[in-house]
């Protein structure tokens, strides 16, 4: 197998603080293949946005990569300086941020903003007025916006159109990787559905890979190839999307899935997941999910679980360590220091 487009190994990101550093992303391993659609889900504060910012090289103090590497087509991005990163960013990978209302400049027309991006990355005739005009019309058409809107200002567009304009901007240079941070969470269900459909269609026709961060698991079911569930800064489960929905391995994935009310089938009582995520400045010993876990065992409280391979899935849970599910089985502390 060729080297994946993006390889993340042992990545840890901390928010440096005087009292105790908050490790928001803890030793995450992740591969994204060419043309793959990977979804990352989790509750607020689980580190999903921090992970994505780290991958995009957008972290700013006090956040800092403290360990691990991020290889994009063989280059370690965590070691690149700003100038080198600027060559890659937007041309080879681009980012669509959560709120298009704030991500677009309200004082400039769409075309002027697209022009800024093109002039920053291209020189000579590549960034001529005519080239900008032509490319703007082209990418707007790609996302289903009539090119007459190129001269519109953001406030003249609806929320859905602004979000699509952001995606168009991310496609200016036909990148190989598009990173999306909750691009649809400000939209209502109908607009959300049509945006997801569009992202998927573009991804299939243009062949770029997508890393899609969301807190809404139900949104990605029909669109993503693989699903990564994060909890308290760590990978909880990484599995092919279908298998994660059909047979979630980690009790947290199961809990997330069961927390959604359904509009089809019988009306069943919901329980959610009692409790709240741990304080990452002082994570609990053992498994971080143990205090909220319905299947907690004695050793979960003392042993920090490793990531286990189960079929095509990876899961960080002691239920799968091969020592059986019975309580009280002690495991030598080989994994946790």
């Amino acid at each position: 197998m060729a080297e994946p487009l993006l390889t993340v190994r042992g990545l840890s990101v901390a928010y440096l603080a005087e009292s105790a550093d908050v490790v928001a992303v803890d030793a995450v391993d992740l591969d994204v293949a060419d043309g793959e659609f990977l979804a990352i889900v989790g509750e607020s504060g689980c580190g999903k946005s921090t992970l994505l910012f780290a991958i995009a090289g957008l972290l700013s103090p006090p956040a800092q990569v403290i360990a691990g590497e991020i290889r994009f087509r063989g280059t370690d991005m965590a070691r690149l300086d700003d100038a080198a990163l600027r060559h890659l960013r937007w041309r080879d990978f681009s980012v669509v941020l959560q709120s298009a209302m704030n991500a677009l400049n309200p004082m400039k027309s769409i075309e002027a903003q697209f022009g800024d991006a093109m002039r920053a990355h291209l020189s000579g005739s590549g960034a001529s007025k005519a080239a900008i005009h032509a490319r703007t019309a082209e990418v707007l058409r790609l996302v289903g916006i009539d090119p007459v809107h190129a001269s519109s200002y953001p406030h003249q567009l609806s929320g859905g159109m602004r979000q699509r304009a952001m995606i168009a901007m991310a496609l200016l240079f036909t990148p190989q990787l598009v990173i999306m941070d909750e691009p649809s969470s400000a939209l209502d269900v109908v607009a959300q559905r049509s945006l997801m459909r569009q992202v998927k269609d573009l991804q299939q026709s243009l062949g770029f890979a997508v890393v899609f961060v969301t807190h809404d698991m139900s949104l990605v079911r029909s669109y993503s190839d693989r699903l990564m569930v994060m909890y308290a800064g760590q990978l909880a489960e990484l599995a092919p999307t279908e298998s994660c929905f059909e047979r979630p391995l980690h009790p947290y994935s199961r809990g997330l899935l069961d927390a959604f009310p359904s509009i089809r089938g019988p009306r069943v009582p919901l329980f959610g997941i009692p409790g709240s995520p741990p304080d990452l400045a002082h994570p609990p010993a053992g498994c971080r999910f143990a205090p909220r876990c319905p299947r907690v065992m004695d050793r979960c409280l003392t042993t920090e679980p490793d990531v286990f391979e189960v079929g095509a899935s990876q899961v960080r849970c002691l239920l799968y360590d091969g020592l059986g599910t019975g309580a009280g089985v002690a495991k030598p502390a080989g994994v946790a220091s």
């Binding site: 509750e43 607020s44 289903g144 609806s158 929320g159 939209l187 209502d188 269900v189 109908v190 607009a191 959300q192 559905r193 049509s194 459909r197 807190h215 809404d216 698991m217 139900s218 949104l219 079911r221 029909s222 929905f245 809990g255 997330l256 899935l257 927390a259 959604f260 009310p261 359904s262 509009i263 089809r264 089938g265 009306r267 009582p269 919901l270 329980f271 959610g272 997941i273 009692p274 709240s276």
Partner: protein, 333 residues
């Protein structure tokens, strides 16, 4: 419904004038809405952003005055209330819970502040000690235990779910009969959303309070609501018992909405061609159905005559010419 509903609106409209002094453009945020909420009933008001859901809540809370129409609370028109004392009395009956638990509680006071203030304002006969006891009681009711410790916390010490419970506690303190809950779960994580939804069910069952649950999430609406009312572009387009509306939506917009809902338990990917349509025109709208530009079923009359709510079954009504014709044809056979 045979008996007088707890709250009913009669052709309720709210328009906003746009632009400068001489501008004559008006935005029709809510138009001609007839909505009923019964005793001990949770009614979900669903619709896309900009459909007028929140304007409805503010109208019912008398934060906005209606442009035309009536709000009948226990049969009395409250839109005509002018005196401050009457207004206060009404608001104690119909308090509101807001969407954003992070900005709707004053961060510089302990969370007891809001509850105690509401009690001092709306139930002035209570002594200080009684107010404290009452605050503890409502905190326990909404599951913030131990209440005594919880009351002493500052908002920043609480999670989003706990803060939203504080919002409900404040509303409950004044012994309401109807709580207006404007998107109370949309800012919360899924894992704690269920807790707030269960709280609403619990409040209805144990205390007998009615709730107007405003949401854009149909799945949550189904979980708690007895009846659903669907709004589109300021119009009420469909209303009926929850299961009936979801299983058998009659208005094309309700059909679109139901089919677009992401559901982790059943992967469907229906074609949402109508989703490509533009948001409706609510500034100086012309006569006719406002969903028509996006509607796959539109017929000639839809462009001329605004459809009215027509009965589709027991307690089920939709404002659609096509559906009305189908019902009429069915009845004729």
């Amino acid at each position: 419904m045979s008996e007088t509903p707890l709250l009913a609106t009669d052709a309720l409209s709210r328009h906003f004038r746009l632009g400068g002094l001489f501008s004559s453009r008006t935005l029709h945020a809510v138009d001609d809405v007839d909505l009923q909420i019964g005793e001990r009933e949770i009614v979900a008001l669903v619709g896309e952003s900009g459909s007028g859901k929140s304007t409805m809540a503010r109208l019912l809370a008398l934060l906005y005055r209606p442009t035309t129409g009536k709000i009948l609370f226990r049969g009395k028109d409250v839109a005509a209330i002018r005196s401050r004392a009457d207004l206060r009395r009404y608001r104690a009956q119909v308090p509101m819970v807001f969407q954003d638990p992070y900005s709707s509680i004053n961060p510089v006071y302990r969370v007891s502040h809001g509850v105690l203030r509401a009690l001092a304002l709306h139930r002035p006969s209570l002594t200080r000690a009684e107010r404290m006891a009452e605050a503890e009681r409502v905190f326990e009711t909404v599951g913030l235990t131990p209440a005594r410790d919880m009351l002493r916390k500052f908002p920043y010490e609480m999670s989003g779910g706990q803060r939203q419970r504080v919002g409900f506690a404040q509303a409950l303190a004044v012994n309401p009969s109807l709580i207006l809950a404007d998107e109370p779960v949309s800012m919360l994580d899924v894992s704690i959303r269920a807790g707030i939804l269960n709280l609403m069910l619990d409040l209805r069952d144990r205390i007998g309070v009615s709730i107007l649950f405003i949401t854009h999430d149909i799945a949550s609406a189904r979980y708690v609501a007895d009846r659903i009312a669907v709004m589109y572009a300021g119009h009420l387009v469909e209303t009926g018992p929850t299961e009936e509306v979801l299983a058998n939506p009659r208005h094309p917009y309700s059909q679109l909405l139901v089919s677009a809902v992401p559901d982790p338990h059943s992967p469907i990917d229906v074609d949402v061609s109508a989703a490509a349509g533009e948001p409706p025109r609510v500034i100086d709208p012309a006569e006719g159905c406002r969903f028509m530009p996006r509607c796959p079923l539109a017929i000639e009359i839809c462009g001329r005559v605004t459809p009215r709510l027509t009965p589709m079954g027991p307690d089920h009504a939709a404002a659609c010419h096509v559906a009305a014709q189908q019902v009429a044809a069915g009845a004729a056979v």
